[in-house]
Symmetry: C2
């Protein structure tokens, strides 16, 4: 387990339940009970997923109320997006990339 | 360990050495020896990283020669980019996102 920020983010995203939780939070804050509802998981299992997301900075849990709603935090996703940018040329112009590969050059 | 394609991709990216290998391959194909050179890892350790990247479809290893060069395959990164898009509004217009959060609506 790597502990640099980007690795923590990718690791947190490597689970369909955690991605589904983020998709739910994109619609607005939610409690653990609300987040658990669509899944066949126990509350402790959901709480564990929330802790992974929180450690990666992808959610923030409020102290505001007993139900401690979770909120999406997008800053780590922005970092992922910036990391991805350098590879965009590879999928947006595959012929250029292929050409560059054959030449052994960096595509531009 | 989740085995859906997106989880495999995120999991493969959750390691700085594997991301460094991809960055090297963005410059052109390379052999295991070439890929191992910048790192303080044994060849078997690098080979193990390559297997993770290959399983996620992020690289392809050629059968063309004894040195079996590895090449970047960007299709899984395109999938990551498409997955990220739905969250772009959260980091590009934070005030809008905050407003949507407060209203409990999906931001647009």
């Amino acid at each position: 387990m790597q502990n640099d920020a980007l690795s923590l983010t990718f690791s947190a995203l490597a689970d369909p339940t955690r991605r589904a939780i983020l998709a739910r939070l994109a619609k607005g804050k939610a409690s653990v009970t609300e987040l658990a509802a669509p899944f066949e998981f126990s509350m402790p299992a959901i709480t564990k997923h929330l802790k992974v997301l929180e450690k990666a900075g992808l959610i923030e849990r409020s102290r505001e109320a007993q139900w401690r709603p979770a909120r999406l935090q997008a800053a780590p996703l922005k970092d992922v997006s910036e990391w991805l940018e350098r590879y965009r040329t590879f999928w947006e112009s595959r012929l250029d990339a292929l050409d560059a590969h054959l030449k052994g050059d960096r595509p531009n």
